[in-house]
């Protein structure tokens, strides 16, 4: 456990150094409105990262969640418009439930056919996205059609401030949802048997079955929760940007996986923590955000994300390998 903590401390230190460096290059970084906007950008990626973390600890990988998120979001918003529903709780429950169902699909293939999770989720993700665009529709739902309840919910702020020039800015209340989900997942992973079964499965699948863990239950738990978080995050995203775009989230899987790996989760399974993941998400969002502030072209941002994945994976692989010897 000491080593576990150690890798989180290392990430935190690196993050701090990065913040200082970025602050030196661009003093505007430390301004409250920038920090608030950074935290806001953490929410969606962060919630999705929690799901990916769960899958990665169990020894799997998930690239289907952006598709699940977009499908749950688009279907829910369409449904709200169709039924003229203008609440918040029911739609979020619906999006989360859709996520769970999609997650079940992943779990079914991974468990029943012992398929490689990468292949399964590549397939299910592609299927869901294809169905969405082919059957449900391709047109965006703009702010004028978006349900007001969603938009109002997305606008909620914990702190609202006014700048000297009269413009207002604030810290989104969605951050509370993110932190709440993170705490919940942390407690589940650390203090419940189902949580420990995820680590056990990721560490030694054979042994997990042998000592009496119900691995089917664990696999379904992992993929369904990941799907649920994705579905939930998807709808939350549309509320925050006042737009439901069925082509959203393309390529997001790489960012999220990069953040989780950056947070110290092992691609071999069995290792990873919620705190580390949150730090990883913050680091990734901050780097991308700084690139934007420095007017770096978006294509180069892809390069940076790629580099982050490779370096972070190499570092964790090296760490795990050293331990194994």
């Amino acid at each position: 456990m000491a080593l576990f903590r150690k890798s989180e401390v290392i990430i935190a230190v690196i993050l701090l150094i990065a913040m200082i460096v970025i602050g030196l290059i661009n003093p505007a970084f430390w301004q409250l409105d920038n920090l608030f906007s950074l935290l806001r950008s953490n929410v969606i990626i962060g919630i999705m990262a929690l799901g990916v973390l769960l899958v990665m600890i169990s020894g799997g990988i998930d690239v289907s969640f952006p598709a699940f998120a977009v499908a749950a979001m688009y279907l829910t918003v369409k449904g709200m418009i169709f039924f003229g529903h203008d609440g918040v709780i029911l739609p979020f429950a619906a999006a989360a439930t859709m996520g769970v169902l999609f997650g079940c699909l992943n779990a079914f293939f991974v468990y029943t056919f012992r398929m490689i999770p990468l292949i399964v989720t590549l397939g299910t993700g592609s299927m869901v996205r294809g169905f969405l665009l082919g059957v449900v529709g391709t047109s965006m739902i703009n702010i004028n059609k978006m349900p007001d309840a969603l938009i109002d919910f997305g606008k909620l702020e914990i702190i609202s401030l006014t700048k000297a020039d009269g413009t207002t800015f604030g810290l989104t209340a969605m951050i509370l949802i993110y932190v709440g989900l993170a705490i919940a997942l942390h407690l589940v992973l650390r203090h419940t048997m189902i949580g420990r079964s995820v680590y056990a499965l990721g560490g030694a699948p054979e042994a997990a079955a042998r000592v009496g863990f119900d691995t089917r239950k664990t696999i379904f738990f992992v993929y369904c929760v990941a799907g649920m978080l994705a579905g939930f995050a998807g709808l939350l995203h549309s509320g925050m940007i006042w737009l439901a775009n069925p082509r959203d989230f393309v390529g997001l899987e790489l960012d999220v996986i990069a953040a989780v790996v950056l947070g110290g989760a092992s691609i071999f399974g069995g290792r990873g923590s919620v705190v580390g993941t949150m730090l990883g998400v913050f680091m990734l969002v901050m780097v991308k955000n700084s690139l934007i502030i420095m007017h770096v072209d978006t294509t180069w941002q892809r390069v940076v994300v790629g580099i982050v994945i490779v370096i972070a994976t190499a570092a964790t692989a090296w760490r795990d390998r050293k331990r194994r010897v």
Partner: protein, 500 residues
């Protein structure tokens, strides 16, 4: 007459029509140490899995405490206080020692949540009961194999077991660690817990057990008190044939002594070995013994160019050579059979032919183009020379038995005109029958080709029987050496035990 704890009567088990077990009966009495002996593939593992409830037998019945148990499932088996310690221990490398120990109890109690204080208390108690000291907060992965095994045993004891089954428990242990294990096994027995010790190592089984059951090809061959058996008898029962081992003896040829095949002078690599000097003449088989971490593997790697030494000279046939890479070593005439044949020595998914030819691609090519007909010929000759049991050299190496795989690795080096052959654990995981044949092959090669052979092994008996000289390495130095008849198993074992 002591009371039976579990009785298996006329058990039969078939897998796709093949008898894995045929009419096997086994009785384990309360609180006895019972050995189950058999070669790889004899049905030992199947039998264990029947007792553990993993497999349901097709025929026969199982009695526990004299009562028939109809349908033994893994959960039922645990409920009857039967615990199996598998070879891989079924532990979690990514979890702490404490959690590894406490998991089973929590699972049995169908807990939903984890109370970490209780986990540590439970784990501490389990280790205390075994009388060993292990850091509870250490990740299991960081422990040596012997430590992991202790954790596995402690975990099995936590459940108030009445029978503990140990599957090949000594495979990865050094001599000293085996002693510790035996002490613990006897300790377990003293508490009235029966132990079924599954092994194919003669000496250990005879040392530890009170009764012995031998199975071969899925059938029980013999059972009885261990005192009725000696090594030869057990081997005879396990293999169904007499294997008599003549010790290997070698004397320098008369007249002008040829240059030694291999000579090392003052070989050093800080932190690994220091000032090593030895010679191996043509036809000599020199054994190298020592605990894990003594530097013996590092010496082998130095001679094969994988970890060049920091200082010292290596001479082959009297000529100094620089072995900076594997390529250098092969060119100089060094052949190496690694410790882990499966991961380091063999391309399991490739054919026997390709495995044999892989080090000889230069020899079978003309103007950098491979002469495939020549390769076929070379592969066929090697298969014949090494007596590899296969209908065709095209067979996939992974489908061969351990003994035959080892022949492929050995055969590969025949083609490179090796002068020095380094064997690291040449018969690990090879059953008794094939073992003797491989030893025979090595001796023949040494004599007929005048190879200088360096044999590294944990199996002291293997060294005593097949080497004309045995060198003992400890903490990076050669500390002892026995020649000819002086290199007896007893002497070497005793000396090994005194090392710390």
């Amino acid at each position: 007459m002591s009371e039976a704890f579990i009785e298996l009567r006329n058990i039969g088990k078939r897998f796709s029509g093949v008898h894995a077990l045929d009419d096997v009966s086994l009785t384990i009495n309360k609180g006895e140490i019972h050995c189950l002996a058999g070669e790889n593939g004899s049905g030992k593992s199947t039998l264990i899995k029947v007792i553990a409830g993993v497999y349901q037998p097709d025929a026969g019945e199982i009695l526990i405490d004299g009562k028939t148990v109809r349908h033994l499932t893994p959960i039922e088996s645990v409920r009857h206080a039967i615990q199996v310690i598998y070879q891989d221990f079924s532990l979690f490398g990514n979890l702490t020692v404490a959690e590894n120990l406490a998991l089973n109890t929590a699972l049995r109690a169908k807990r939903k949540t984890v109370n970490w204080r209780a986990v540590h208390a439970l784990a501490r108690e389990a280790l205390d009961r075994l009388g060993v000291e292990i850091d509870l907060t250490a990740e299991l992965e960081t422990l040596p194999t012997s430590g992991k095994q202790l954790v596995a045993i402690a975990r099995a004891l936590m459940s108030d077991a009445r029978l503990i089954i140990m599957d090949e428990p000594t495979t990865a242990l050094t001599g000293k660690e085996v002693e510790t294990l035996f002490r613990i096994v006897r300790d377990i027995q003293a508490r009235g817990i029966a132990v079924l010790f599954v092994s194919h190592k003669m000496r250990e089984m005879l040392d530890i057990s009170e009764r012995l059951t031998v199975i071969r090809n899925g059938r029980k061959v013999v059972e009885g008190p261990t005192s009725d058996f000696d090594e030869g008898a057990v081997i005879r029962h396990m293999t169904g044939q007499d294997i008599v081992a003549e010790p290997y003896r070698w004397s320098p040829p008369d007249g002008a002594a040829p240059a030694p095949r291999l000579e090392v002078r003052g070989l050093s690599r800080p932190g690994h070995y220091d000032d090593l000097s030895m010679t191996i003449g043509p036809g000599e088989i020199v054994g190298l013994s020592g605990l894990l971490g003594s530097g013996r593997t590092e010496l082998a790697l130095a001679l094969f160019g994988m970890q060049p030494p920091a200082a010292g000279t290596i001479l082959i046939d009297g000529r100094p050579v620089t072995l900076g890479s594997v390529r250098d070593a092969i060119d100089a005439g060094v052949a190496y059979v690694p410790e882990d044949r499966l991961s380091e020595g063999l391309f399991l998914t490739q054919s026997i032919k390709r495995n044999i030819l892989v080090t000889s691609l230069d020899a079978m090519s003309r103007w950098t183009v491979l002469d495939l007909a020549q390769g076929d010929r070379m592969a066929r000759e090697t298969v014949a020379a090494m007596q590899i049991a296969t209908p065709t050299p095209e067979k996939i190496a992974g489908e061969l038995s351990g003994g035959n795989q080892q022949r492929v690795v050995l055969g590969r080096w025949l083609l490179t005109n090796a002068k020095v052959l380094i064997l690291n654990g040449p018969t690990v995981g090879v059953d008794v029958g094939s073992k003797a044949e491989i030893h025979q092959k090595i001796r023949e090669l040494a004599l007929s080709r005048g190879l200088g052979v360096l044999m590294i092994s944990d199996d002291v008996l293997e060294l005593a029987q097949n080497c004309n000289r045995v060198v003992l390495m400890h903490r990076g130095r050669f500390v002892d050496e026995w020649d000819g008849d002086a290199a007896s198993e007893r002497v070497i074992s005793e000396t090994l035990k005194t090392l710390t």
